[in-house]
């Protein structure tokens, strides 16, 4: 599948942006993210009373002349984060709706680009069935990034995905050292909430990006229809539905979708998880420049 978003123009517009991750993350040495810990940068952070064992070269003698006490001058620290992007590769994400697939790939690639631009370590985890594949390994630097995303064009969306299993089974979910992004429509019976709880437990900053097509938000069909789920195995699959879509059922659909999104939002807000829901008929720039900025993920 060829994504219409992965081109030079798209990435050049992202160069002015950067990810704004939380400062309580630990991370690794050598990054660009300011953290709460004190380090060796030139940016002043605080003063602290001298304690035994401290380097006497860091005593602020000007303060000593004024207070006749020893104070140390503290500076902020900058760390390198690990950004993990989990992309839902289930059939519902793009088997029959290529726009939705392109949109999901574009959003994942954009977030990945922002992370590598901030000298962060990046990994793309493609969720399939109960496992998450990391075909590109840890990506550091733009060269590695562009090499990785070039293979996105051959990405296939098939089968069902168990998000919980995929994330829990992911071997590279280190603790407190970065951002985890889950790009999905969350139209799954698997308990993805446990996966989010797991990530929170691992003290990772979590961002959920829900991708929905306009037809999913406002279905335009009615009457007696046999709804064939793209993730179904055959016609007799239990995922398929034979229903008579009436106006009342359409209203019930709208209500169910609204409550579904509200449930995700509530769940996320309780855990300090960021959540954005986008529709594929919106320009992807709007998602990046508006929704993510609004959520504070981007600056």
């Amino acid at each position: 599948m060829k994504s219409s978003y992965l081109n030079d123009g798209f990435f050049s517009r992202l160069e002015t942006l950067s990810l704004n991750l939380r400062s309580n993350l630990a991370g690794y040495f050598g990054g660009k993210h300011l953290v709460n810990t004190y380090g060796q940068t030139v940016e002043f952070a605080d003063f602290r009373e001298y304690q035994l064992g401290d380097d006497i070269r860091r005593i602020d003698w000007n303060l000593y002349s004024r207070f006749e006490k020893y104070f140390l001058k503290l500076f902020t620290d900058e760390r390198q984060m690990q950004v993990q992007i989990f992309l839902d590769c289930s059939a519902s994400m793009g088997k029959d709706n290529h726009q939705k697939a392109s949109y999901a790939i574009g959003a994942a690639a954009a977030l990945g680009f922002l992370s590598v631009q901030n000298m962060d370590k990046l990994s793309f985890n493609l969720m399939r069935d109960t496992r998450s594949e990391n075909p590109f390994g840890t990506i550091i630097g733009k060269n590695a990034f562009f090499r990785a995303i070039s293979s996105f064009e051959e990405l296939n969306f098939t089968e069902d995905v168990d998000i919980e299993a995929c994330i829990k089974n992911c071997p590279d979910t280190s603790t407190g050292n970065g951002l985890t992004v889950i790009v999905s429509d969350f139209f799954t019976d698997s308990n993805w909430k446990k996966a989010v709880d797991y990530l929170c437990y691992k003290k990772r900053q979590v961002l959920l990006v829900q991708i929905m097509s306009p037809e999913e938000i406002d279905p335009s069909y009615d009457g007696r229809v046999n709804l064939i789920d793209s993730e179904s195995v055959d016609v007799s699959d239990s995922k398929n539905m034979r229903i008579k879509i009436t106006r009342s059922l359409q209203k019930a659909y709208e209500e169910a979708l609204r409550d579904f999104k509200l449930d995700i939002k509530t769940f996320c807000s309780k855990r300090g998880v960021d959540f954005i829901s986008v529709r594929t008929d919106q320009p992807i720039e709007r998602v990046l420049f508006s929704e993510l900025l609004k959520a504070g993920i981007m600056e």
């Binding site: 059939a91 519902s92 994400m93 088997k95 029959d96 709706n97 939705k100 429509d185 139209f187 799954t188 019976d189 097509s213 037809e215 999913e216 279905p219 069909y221 009615d222 009457g223 007696r224 229809v225 046999n226 709804l227 064939i228 789920d229 793209s230 993730e231 995922k239 398929n240 539905m241 034979r242 229903i243 008579k244 009436t246 106006r247 009342s248 059922l249 019930a252 659909y253 209500e255 169910a256 979708l257 409550d259 579904f260």
Partner: protein, 665 residues
């Protein structure tokens, strides 16, 4: 409810088509979507309602079936029967009562055969418990019996059987068949299956369905008839024209013409009785005209010869210049005797004596002198105009003679008035210098308008002023009438003074022209002869115009006296006191009109009433009979339910649309 077009119910087959469509139509269409996850969630959100969808589906199908049924019913034209359908046989028997039905053969008239046939047919209908109505097509058609059922069959017998006995049952005029058919429409309005049986002797070229013409003629019947006869005065001598025909067979018939009171000198002279006989061949039902004419006049005649005209030349010794009556007869033993004779009257004109007295005193220059030539010429003009009605005898009073004061019908006094007016006739006073004692007016001095001409004005409408334009008549002077009796009517005025007064009551008949013709343009005006003609018509109206009429014709009558007696033979038919009036004659024969005029003269005039000429043709063929069934108003029987079903159809369509719209909600 009745379906006028039952085949329209074939439209119900559409219901079968509808059911087939329901059976074969695809139930669900496949729709490939990303995920049914939200749809499954939405099922929990769907409101728990009463499961009306099945009921709605059932109602939709029901509505669609009813819609198709309504369409089929509309095609079938449903109608509500408003009147109870009559199951029994119903007939209307029309009996033609025209004069031709008096044609007799084998001792029985056509009318008797018709009545007898109607009685027998009515009995047969009653045997089938039918309904019978009887219409007698007389001068004016009328029901004898209306919708009699078997329990009232005596009514039919009571109505028809007397017709066989009464001589007057059959009329002498024409039958109102159209009126009888119109009466049948009332019966048809009640029962559209009513059959009409017309017992008549007329052969119709077109007979509508539902009407049966029962021919009551006998092939042996024939009729020799006098259709019309006239007397014509030409160069002082009468010629007589008689139209005869023979229907049913070709025959030579003898026509006798008897002139009674021929060439009598006056009313007291009985005159001669002259008889002429002419034999004519009547063929092919054609009318032959016999002209009894003076031989000299016949030679002068320029009329083209015609094979249907036969001339009977009257010798010089038998020339007729006056007669009392002419009796024309055909001596044939035909089947219809009522038209075998004919009478002509008015061969002697009544004398109308007029005295014109125009005197002046030579010394008096204020008045014009000498007899008035304009007036005299008008009188002689009227004499000629009325020569067919009156023998107007005008007497001019010489200047050295005194006017007569009695024994004239009209007295005209101009300028010098008598001391007292005569009372036995009509008096016309022109330019009265003095007022006679019993005139009821007073006269002033003559007024000269000094060269001015003032037009006269109409004061009161009156028949005397018919076709007269008073404004065209101007006066340069007049005689002022200072007083006039209230019995006078003021008809014309000039300078607000009366110039024409009229009195017409049982005491006096006086007209006053209060101006001199020499002071007026009236003498050269067209209005003056008209005025004088109207004056004559008012005071001397013709009792009757014409002397031969047909049965059932309205005869206009007038009189110069207070009463007019009409007699037929010895029988007094009617007495009239209001005039003008109308006499409707229903029996042929000679009617005598007797009156006593204002002047006291007893005047008797005769008219002859004959059978209508068309009735003499006893083998008459008519064009057709009006179709009474065509006039039948369906709304009287059926109420069209299409509007209601169409309304129900619209309602069903709306309900079906509403249910369909609810189905997707």
């Amino acid at each position: 409810m009745k379906l006028l077009t039952p085949l329209g119910l074939l439209g119900l087959l559409a219901i079968v088509v509808l059911i087939i469509i329901y059976i074969i139509r695809p139930n669900y269409q496949q729709k490939f979507i990303s995920s049914t996850f939200v749809w499954k969630l939405s099922l929990k959100y769907r409101k728990k309602k009463i499961p009306t969808s099945k009921l709605r589906n059932f109602l939709i199908i029901l509505c669609q079936i009813l819609i198709l049924t309504s369409c089929a019913l509309i095609l079938a034209q449903p109608n509500q029967i408003l009147k109870a359908e009559v199951k029994e046989t119903e007939v209307v028997l029309i009996v033609d009562s025209s004069a031709s039905m008096r044609t007799e053969s084998n001792g029985e008239t056509r009318f008797e055969r018709a009545v007898d046939g109607a009685i027998k047919f009515a009995d047969s209908v009653f045997e089938q418990n039918g309904i019978v109505s009887v219409v007698l097509a007389d001068v004016k058609a009328s029901f004898l019996v209306q919708r009699a059922r078997v329990e009232n069959k005596i009514l039919v017998a009571d109505a028809l059987e007397p017709l066989l006995d009464e001589d007057m049952a059959c009329s002498y005029g024409s039958a109102d068949i159209e009126g009888a058919i119109a009466l049948c429409e009332d019966i048809i309005a009640e029962n559209p299956d009513t059959l009409i049986y017309l017992y008549t002797d007329v052969e119709y070229s077109y007979v509508p369905d539902g009407i049966t013409v029962v021919d009551v003629c006998d092939d042996s019947e024939w009729n020799a008839a006098i259709l019309d006869a006239q007397a014509k005065l030409d160069e002082g001598y009468y010629s007589f024209t008689v139209d005869v025909a023979c229907y049913g067979k070709d025959a030579q018939i003898a026509v006798d013409l008897e002139v009674h009171g021929a060439n009598a000198n006056d009313s007291e002279d009985a005159g001669l009785t002259v008889t002429f006989t002419e034999y004519v061949e009547c063929v092919r039902d054609e009318t032959t005209r016999i002209v009894f004419i003076n031989s000299d006049l016949h030679q002068q005649s320029t009329e083209p010869s015609n094979s249907n005209v036969v001339y009977h030349l009257i010798s010089d010794t038998d020339e007729i210049f006056a007669y009392q009556s002419v009796h024309i007869t055909i001596s044939e033993d035909d089947s219809f005797q009522q038209d075998n004779s004919f009478n002509i009257y008015s061969g002697q004109k009544e004398v109308l004596k007029v005295q014109y007295c125009s005197k002046v005193e030579g010394k008096d220059t204020e008045y014009a002198s000498g007899a008035n030539p304009f007036f005299a010429s008008i009188l002689y003009t009227l004499e000629v105009a009325y020569e067919d009605r009156w023998d107007v005898q005008i007497s001019e009073v010489k200047s050295d003679a005194d006017p007569e004061m009695e024994d004239f019908d009209l007295y005209i006094f101009e300028h010098i008035m008598p001391e007292k007016l005569p009372t036995d006739g009509v008096v016309l006073l022109v330019n009265p210098r003095t007022a006679p004692a019993n005139s009821g007016i007073r006269i002033g001095q003559h007024v000269n308008l000094g060269g001015r001409q003032i037009p006269m004005m109409e004061a009161e409408p009156h028949s005397i002023l018919n076709h007269v334009t008073p404004e065209d008549m101007t006066l340069g002077g007049y005689v002022p009438v200072t007083y006039y009796d209230p019995a006078y009517q003021m008809l014309l005025t000039c300078d607000n003074k009366p110039t024409l007064l009229l009195r017409d009551d049982e005491k006096a008949k006086i007209a006053v022209m209060a101006f001199s013709m020499h002071y007026s343009n009236i003498a050269i005006s067209k209005d003056f002869p008209i005025l004088m003609y109207n004056l004559f018509e008012h005071f001397f109206p013709a009792t009757v115009k014409g002397n031969a009429f047909e049965v059932n014709e309205n005869v206009a009558l007038n009189a110069r006296g207070e009463e007019l007696f009409v007699t037929l033979g010895d029988k007094l038919v009617q007495t009239f006191t209001e005039f003008p009036t109308v006499l409707q004659v229903s029996t042929p024969g000679t009617y005598e009109l007797t009156q006593t005029t204002f002047s006291g003269k007893n005047v008797t005039e005769s008219i002859y009433v004959k059978i209508p000429a068309i009735e003499s043709n006893i083998w008459y063929k008519a064009e057709g009979i009006d179709n009474p069934y065509a006039e039948r108003n369906e709304e009287d029987f059926f109420k069209d339910l299409m509007v209601y079903i169409a309304a129900a159809l619209v309602a069903l369509l709306f309900i079906e649309w509403w249910l369909q719209s609810r189905e997707t909600m």
